[in-house]
């Protein structure tokens, strides 16, 4: 016999241990890549209040991440701005990095949104025409675009802005790019935008500072 019968009792324990280990290994290998089904309680309204300071919004601090997501590893603030105290922050929607509500005269309301994309965010003409389409204006050509765009100096360079007006509502939009991403700022209203709000928006654009 190659084994010593007197030591069998002692040998059984590590053998069982090895078998359990192999069983675990097999179980672990099967675990990955399987479809699972589970139930979760209905999500409740986030209890956190949006940043009320009005000085800076950091998307990762908001209850839900807006679109498009910024890699979690980016640890520095990507953007800073100053908002008028009349602008009330609201939770971001699927598309938006940040949202603000603006009360106008009467019961009218305007909406300010900030959206960001990696890369250049598409062509200027295409973007402007998309906004024009939203308020029922015909598409502009490249030559007309030059007359529509107004440059605004901000903390990180030049923001391009358009002021679009139509019977369906007014729209102010600005955009700026850096090496990594493009930022869009948009103020929309169902009617006309008062001059004072336009000034607020331009002041907001001037305060924008991007991470170098």
């Amino acid at each position: 016999m190659w084994y010593d019968a007197n030591r069998v009792k002692w040998r059984c324990q590590p053998l069982c241990f090895a078998l359990i280990l192999l069983a675990g290994l097999c179980a672990g290998c099967q675990k990955k890549g399987e479809i699972t089904v589970y139930r979760v309680c209905k999500p409740t309204t986030p209890t956190s209040e949006p940043d009320a300071s009005g000085t800076q919004i950091n998307r990762s601090a908001l209850p839900t991440r807006a679109l498009p997501s910024i890699p979690a590893e980016e640890s520095e603030a990507l953007i800073h701005w100053q908002t008028p105290k009349e602008w009330k922050p609201s939770p971001p929607s699927a598309m938006r990095y940040a949202n603000f509500e603006v009360s106008l005269e009467g019961n009218a309301r305007a909406d300010v949104s900030v959206v960001t994309f990696e890369g250049d965010g598409g062509g200027d003409l295409e973007n402007v025409n998309r906004w024009r389409q939203q308020i029922g204006l015909p598409a502009a050509n490249a030559k007309e675009l030059r007359t529509l765009v107004l440059p605004i100096q901000c903390q990180s360079g030049r923001i391009l802005m358009v002021d679009l007006q139509s019977p369906q509502g007014d729209l102010l939009a600005g955009w700026i790019r850096n090496a990594e991403r493009c930022w869009f700022f948009k103020l929309t209203a169902s009617g006309s935008i008062p001059e004072m709000e336009k000034e607020h928006f331009i002041k907001f654009l001037r305060s924008v500072s991007l991470r170098p």
Binding site: R39, S48, S60, P71, A72, G121
Partner: protein
């Protein structure tokens, strides 16, 4: 025959070859991090039985070297077999037995940790409550049945199933999902004419507003892939298509973090490609986050999170202070203070679930006891001999 196998498994030669293979694996794994990145190397080199090397773009791959799991398992079997073969139950050998036992616990613990432990992250803004954490990299296509008033039923499809051309069916889903295109790493750009130019075949949901561009796999340590997929939702059978027609093509992406909704079979559904979630049967709410710097510098001195732990099933409702090296351990999860968002607007807790977290501690204690016993007994024997010689 059996004896030969046993002799082979318990041989010192196998130990040397395995250790040599481990050295080679570590060397080439380190070199491969330049092109593949740390996470890929860890998965392909160290958390695999065999390292498979892809051949071209046809999807074929060949085995090139034993992976970390195989080498580790062989070393473990070798150690156990050697233990069996040479085991002598004597007082003088007790120290050696303990050292070997400790090594076995450490190797087995490492293997089980690799297989069963999970690491995820929970981001909490002040006042925010969460009952789930998110994986750092792994993604899932969550298909959520929202028809029940009390709960959502989530069908979690791992991203490894999202292969181009793959049709996904599951008993919990009354439809099938056809993956037209999967992007391991991608970038979404807004496009009003996405459908016309054919860059985004999505014709439903938020995704139709975007074109999607494939990007190379992100290998940098602080970057991760941003996955996207073009999927089509189809009836299970053709006969079903009258009552429930096909729901068109959808672009799902982790860049669209809000679920996209639709109705099918009289039920409300939503879909989202998102970081894999780990739900807990309790909630954490961040009460306060503080971040102290060393005076005059930006260097972190200390950061602490005051959270409220609420677990109705255990009648827990208490405040807990989590700070560096003082984690919260609760129901198998350990919450470490991991980081914070810019301007201290949110805290980041790393959530580690490791069923065998005691293994390394236990192994160290057993090995330390074995070393003390072994060297202590040698010292005792040596000093006794010396005293005898001196006396004689």
């Amino acid at each position: 025959m059996l004896r030969n196998i046993f002799n082979f498994l318990s041989s010192l030669r196998l130990t040397i070859v395995s250790l040599g293979a481990a050295i080679v694996l570590v060397f080439f794994g380190t070199i491969a991090q330049v092109n593949l990145g740390g996470h890929d190397v860890q998965t392909r080199f160290f958390q695999s039985l065999i390292i498979m090397w892809p051949l071209g773009s046809q999807g074929w791959s060949i085995p090139v070297f034993p992976g970390g799991h195989l080498i580790g398992a062989i070393l473990l079997i070798n150690l156990i077999a050697a233990h069996l073969r040479r085991f002598r139950w004597t007082r003088h050998k007790l120290g050696i037995q303990l050292i070997h036992g400790g090594l076995i616990i450490m190797l087995a613990g490492g293997l089980f940790t690799d297989l069963f432990a999970t690491e995820s992250f929970m981001r909490l803004a002040p006042g925010e409550t969460r009952d789930y954490s998110e994986d750092g990299r792994t993604m899932e296509l969550a298909v959520i049945d929202q028809s029940n008033n009390k709960y959502d039923q989530v069908t979690s499809i791992p991203d490894v199933k999202l292969k181009t051309g793959e049709a996904i069916e599951h008993e919990s889903l009354p439809f099938r999902i056809l993956v037209h295109q999967f992007y391991q790493n991608s970038r979404l750009t807004p496009s009003s004419k996405a459908n016309e130019v054919g860059q985004s075949p999505a014709n439903r949901g938020e995704g139709r507003l975007f074109s999607v561009e494939a990007l190379p796999h992100a290998t940098a340590e602080n970057k991760r892939d941003s996955e996207s997929a073009i999927i089509e939702i189809l009836p299970l059978q053709q006969t079903d298509s009258k009552d429930n027609p096909a729901l068109g093509c959808w672009l799902v992406s982790d860049q669209i973090s809000q679920p996209q909704t639709f109705t099918y079979g009289g039920k409300n559904w939503s879909i989202a490609l998102r970081l894999k979630r780990y739900y807990m049967p309790y909630t954490l709410m961040l009460q306060k986050f503080t971040h102290e710097h060393f005076p005059g510098t930006e260097i972190a001195k200390n950061f602490t999170s005051t959270v409220t732990l609420i677990d109705p099933s255990q009648k827990e409702d208490r405040q807990v202070l989590i700070y560096m090296n003082h984690p919260l351990r609760y129901r198998g999860n350990t919450y470490f203070q991991s980081g914070f968002e810019p301007d201290d607007t949110a805290t980041i807790l790393e959530v580690v679930h490791n069923p065998v977290f005691v293994a390394p501690y236990l192994a160290c204690i057993v090995i330390a006891a074995g070393l003390l016993l072994q060297f202590g007994s040698h010292l005792y024997t040596f000093s006794r001999r010396r005293n005898l010689l001196t006396a004689s």
